[in-house]
Amino acid sequence: MTTAGSTTVHSVNRRTVRPVAPPRNGFERAAWVFMRYSGLVLVFLALSHWGFQHIFNSVQNLTLESTAGRWGVTGQIATLQIWFWRVYYGLLLGLAMLHGLNGLRQVVYDYMHFKPLYWGFMTVSTLLIVAVSAAGIAALFLGVNIAAVGGAAVR
């Protein structure tokens, strides 16, 4: 590039990076970042889970027994393998539900402009999702309640 001849003075700044104070309201920012990173983690968790359930195996073959094989049975002492599944499913469930809940919030925020309606809907949805998630986690840790259908058939 041709520039008209002029002496160069080195006092001017050639780098353009500057710090800036972060804003007070960090919630939306945190939510935004969370959506991206949780999404990236979920790719591995969700797709592998889907793979186990639908490709290497099938819902058609899914039985109480096969579930118990991973969760263990109520009252059983958890083996290392069971702990693995607990962590795996716990993480999957937690991340997916949080990710989904925030996703739902974004969508609802777009469409429900009447504040009470928005808050009402989100309260109910959050309660529902939290309750279901809690139940899911509880079940995961408590194991399959084989006793309820007549004893230790699996083992």
Partner: protein, 235 residues
């Protein structure tokens, strides 16, 4: 060549609902669609209304939707606009319709004003110009080109969903100052943009970038603002 124009018409003093006005005109291939609209107005139907001024893509008056997509009517040539001998012209979306192709721009400019679109720097600059290196100047060059035509904001699905979203144009304007090395108001502007109706509403859809008549990398500018919010650094 012969062109069949289909124009969305609406007169608030008469019509309950918008309807299609259809016009056949003779136009040159190299004419602008704006010229075709003028031809209709000046020779067929004087009641047709649209905004226009410069006629060469510099003033931002005539953002409309041609064949379904936002453009400046003066920046699209007939030969590129005709599809099967026909051109469809409609008002832009997401802003209240006033008359024919004219929409209420006030909400758009309100968002513009909300981001403090002016240099903030209270130190005394002295007698001569503030110095700025060509590199620093280049940093925000892209976003200085904006002509506030609203093509971007009114093509954004997030904006259609929620008019409170400041929209890409306002973010572009904010970007122009945030990344100007002479400006000291970056933190204040980022505060506005960090609100729920600020940059986080942007879902990286790219409609804005695709329609910007000034070829501004709108999504990139928005992304850079997001990054500044996340990293606390302007780079």
């Amino acid at each position: 060549m012969k062109v069949h124009l289909k124009i969305k018409r609406f007169n608030p003093e008469k019509d309950k609902k918008p309807y299609w006005g259809e016009y056949d005109i003779e136009a040159d291939e190299g004419d602008r669609v704006l010229d075709a609209l003028q031809t209709v107005k000046w020779t067929i139907d004087g009641t047709l209304n649209f905004r226009r001024s410069c006629a060469h893509g510099i003033c931002g008056s005539d953002a409309v939707r041609i064949n379904g997509r936002n453009v400046l009517a003066c920046k699209l040539l007939i030969r590129d606009a005709v599809k099967n001998g026909q051109i469809t012209v409609e008002p832009i979306l997401g802003l209240p319709l006033i008359k024919d192709l004219i929409v209420d721009m006030e909400p758009f400019f309100a968002h513009y004003r909300a981001v403090m679109p002016y240099l903030i720097n209270d130190t005394d600059p002295g007698e001569r110009e503030r110095l700025q290196s060509p590199e620093e100047r280049a940093r925000y060059d892209d976003t200085t080109k904006c002509i506030l035509c609203a093509c971007c904001t009114t093509s954004c699905p997030s904006f259609w969903a929620r008019g409170e979203y400041v929209g890409p144009a306002a973010i572009v304007q904010a970007h122009r100052f945030i990344f100007d090395s002479r400006d000291e108001g970056a933190a204040q502007r980022l505060q506005v943009l960090a609100e729920p109706d600020g940059v986080w509403r942007c879902r990286t859809i790219f409609n804005c970038t695709e329609v910007c008549p000034r070829d501004i990398q709108v999504t990139k500018a928005i992304g850079e603002v997001k990054r500044a919010l996340i990293t606390g650094k302007l780079d």
